[in-house]
């Protein structure tokens, strides 16, 4: 087995509304296992668009995408959902927690869907993750009653619950103050060191980007560096 976890082959993406416009232009790159990669660039350069394609949530593109050696391009929607569930953990800019559920339930949900463990085991695992992220005392609160920083930590716990091989973040610190941003970064770094999970983070924060293993700079739909 190769140690490449994600690979793209000449990915192009167009927006058609209001006029046809090329957002991504011939993207070729790969991420190794345990690598911490950041993507930076100006607003509208296509970095978020790329991230959505890489996370299999956007299927409207040209080219080919491989995750864990498997081509995603031909998979049906339900197959992609399974890949997202099992192999990818995604942290959004806004936390995107389900407000109707408690913190603990939010974290447990993807694992319950995967169904690899008994609910009791999943709950234990979710609690230990929350404890690691230092929000275990909020576990039984409603998800909408936390502060922004706490919510983002819950979202990270949710992304980690299934032990994905790849964790992606779309400006996960975009809505946080510098203190909370720092905490989130620290958590990410520890993860890479500990579990050999790969990280791909889109960010505006140049300081943060410099501390990652590799920083990709995008401009006008191309990878510049």
């Amino acid at each position: 087995m190769s140690d490449i976890i994600l690979e793209t082959r000449s990915i192009n993406k167009y927006f058609h509304d209001p006029v046809t416009f090329q957002v991504l232009n011939d993207i070729n790159f790969s991420i190794k296992k345990g690598e911490f990669v950041s993507i930076t660039g100006k607003s509208g350069c296509g970095k978020s668009t790329l991230l959505y394609i890489l996370s299999t949530m956007d299927t409207d593109y040209e080219g080919e995408l491989f995750i864990d050696g498997e081509s995603m391009t031909k998979l049906p929607h339900n197959g992609l959902a399974k890949v997202r569930n099992e192999k990818i953990g995604f942290v959004f800019q806004c936390h995107y927690l389900l407000p109707e559920f408690t913190v603990l339930q939010n974290v447990m949900l993807p694992a319950l869907k995967l169904g690899k463990f008994e609910p009791a085991a999943i709950e234990e695992r979710a609690m230990s993750l929350l404890r690691r992220l230092d929000i275990h005392d909020q576990a039984l609160k409603g998800a909408n009653r936390l502060s922004g920083g706490q919510k983002q930590r819950v979202a990270i716990a949710r992304a980690l619950i299934n032990d994905p091989v790849l964790i992606m973040g779309d400006e996960p610190t975009g809505n946080l103050d510098s203190k909370n941003s720092k905490i989130v970064f620290e958590i990410f770094k520890e993860l890479v060191a500990e579990k050999k999970q790969s990280l791909l983070i889109v960010t505006h924060d140049e300081d943060f980007a410099r501390t990652t293993d590799r920083n990709i700079v995008m401009d006008d739909g191309r990878m510049v560096k």
Binding site: S48, T49, Y52, S55, M57, D58, T59, H77, N78, A81, K82, V83, R84, N85, E86, F90, F92, Q93, C94, Y96, L97, L98, E100, F101, L109, P110, K113, L114, R158, N162
Partner: protein
């Protein structure tokens, strides 16, 4: 993931639809049944009798000379044929052995004049087999004064129609005088008063025992003018009537022919009932559809999150269909319950009509059939109303929503 308040409103929509359906159908079919019974209770399914008709076999047809020609005879008068049914006891015996027949009741009808002082009032005395009439033709429901069994216990007794009794100012216990069509006079003791609710009957007819009527006519005990038959299945009446007419060489009239206009009235009322009920259910269905649709727009984010974290389209679809089915089941059963309570309430409202002495409250039909229809319809409508929004929710691409933020 549903907001409780919304689901409650939605379930209330189903509940309302089903409750109204149950109430309306129970009430309307109850009324229909009552109206039907108004006529049908006292009408035999098949009536055997001899109609007074001109003889089809006129002498001219029998002469050899004219046997091959077209003979037209004008103004034929009926011959003096008897209205009596020939060989009646054998016919009754054979009818009783027929497995399709529930009951056979012979009857003697006699034209009479009720004598009120100097005035003679035209009327009809029906000689009936009292116990059979009580058992199979709900005679007792229409007796408003007195006891029908007194017809058997007291000789020369009569139960008068309400109109007749009023005109004669006769009360139970009085003795009235009648004159038969042949001119024989007879005194009869009034033992009761009946009211069918149909003035044409109540103002003219009265009931006596078979023996009394036969005596009035001066006829033997085997003399019957009608044989009334009650069948297991009323819908077989036209077919069986034809069969009897051929077999017993009498005229036979089935209830459908006798009350043709009534049949069509019932049909039309049933159509109206179902049309209104189905409309109610469809309206409730659209309500569910709208609310679920709105809910999906509100829950776009949640759908996107679920999909982003690995839930498939079919998972999302199932969530929405399950949601609407839960609403359908809860709403449907609540509807049945409320519908039943409402009908029970209506059942308590007094409804006094001169036409129907046996009925004191509004009639309700508690047929389990309508409850089953209600539940099945509730489930089907909520499924369909949930299916399309659910399909829409399943189709949503998570990135479209997330990018839109």
């Amino acid at each position: 993931m549903a907001r409780l308040k919304q689901s409650v409103i939605e379930a209330a929509g189903v509940t309302f639809g089903i409750a109204m359906f149950i109430t309306l159908v129970s009430f309307m079919t109850g009324l229909n049944k009552m109206l039907d019974s108004l006529i049908l209770n006292r009408t035999p399914h098949i009536r055997l009798f001899n109609a007074i008709n001109p003889n089809a076999d006129q002498p001219v047809n029998r002469t050899a000379e004219f046997s091959k020609s077209l003979n037209i005879v004008q103004s034929i008068k009926p011959s003096d044929s008897r209205t009596e049914i020939y060989n009646s006891s054998a016919i009754i015996q054979s009818l009783k052995n027929d497995s399709r027949v529930i009951a056979v009741a012979p009857k003697v009808a006699s034209q009479v004049f009720y004598n009120i002082g100097v005035i003679d009032l035209n009327g009809l005395v029906n000689g009936i087999d009292v116990s059979q009439e009580l058992k199979y033709f709900s005679f007792a429901d229409y007796i408003i004064k007195g006891d029908a069994y007194d017809l058997n216990r007291i000789s020369n007794s009569v139960i008068l129609g309400k109109g007749v009794a009023d005109k004669m100012m006769a009360r139970v216990g009085d003795v009235i005088h009648v004159t038969s069509a042949k001119g024989d006079q007879m005194s009869l003791k009034v033992v009761g008063v009946f009211q069918l609710g149909l003035a044409t009957i109540d103002d003219v007819q009265s009931y006596a025992s078979l023996e009394t009527t036969q005596k009035l006519l001066g006829k033997p005990k085997s003399y019957f003018t009608d044989i009334q038959v009650k069948l297991n299945n009323i819908n077989d009446a036209p077919k069986i009537a034809k069969e009897y007419s051929n077999r017993y060489r009498t005229d036979a009239e089935d209830v459908q022919t006798a009350n043709a206009q009534f049949e069509s009235g019932t049909k039309v009322r049933n159509i109206i009932t179902y049309a209104v009920s189905v409309t109610l259910l469809i309206v409730a269905g659209f309500g569910i559809y709208n609310i679920l649709n709105m809910m999906i727009y509100e829950k776009m984010d949640a759908i996107a999150i679920l999909k982003a974290t690995g839930f498939s389209s079919s998972d999302v679809k199932n969530i929405f269909i399950n949601l609407s089915m839960i609403i359908g089941v809860i709403g449907g059963f609540m509807g049945l319950l409320i519908g039943m309570l409402l009908t029970m309430l209506i059942d308590q409202i007094p409804f006094n009509t001169a036409a129907l002495p046996a009925i004191t409250t509004y009639p309700i039909n508690y047929d389990i059939k309508y409850y089953l229809i209600g539940v099945i319809f509730a489930l089907i409508t909520t499924y369909i109303a949930g299916y399309f929004p659910a399909k829409k929710a399943a189709r949503i691409d998570p990135v479209v929503i997330i990018r839109g933020k």
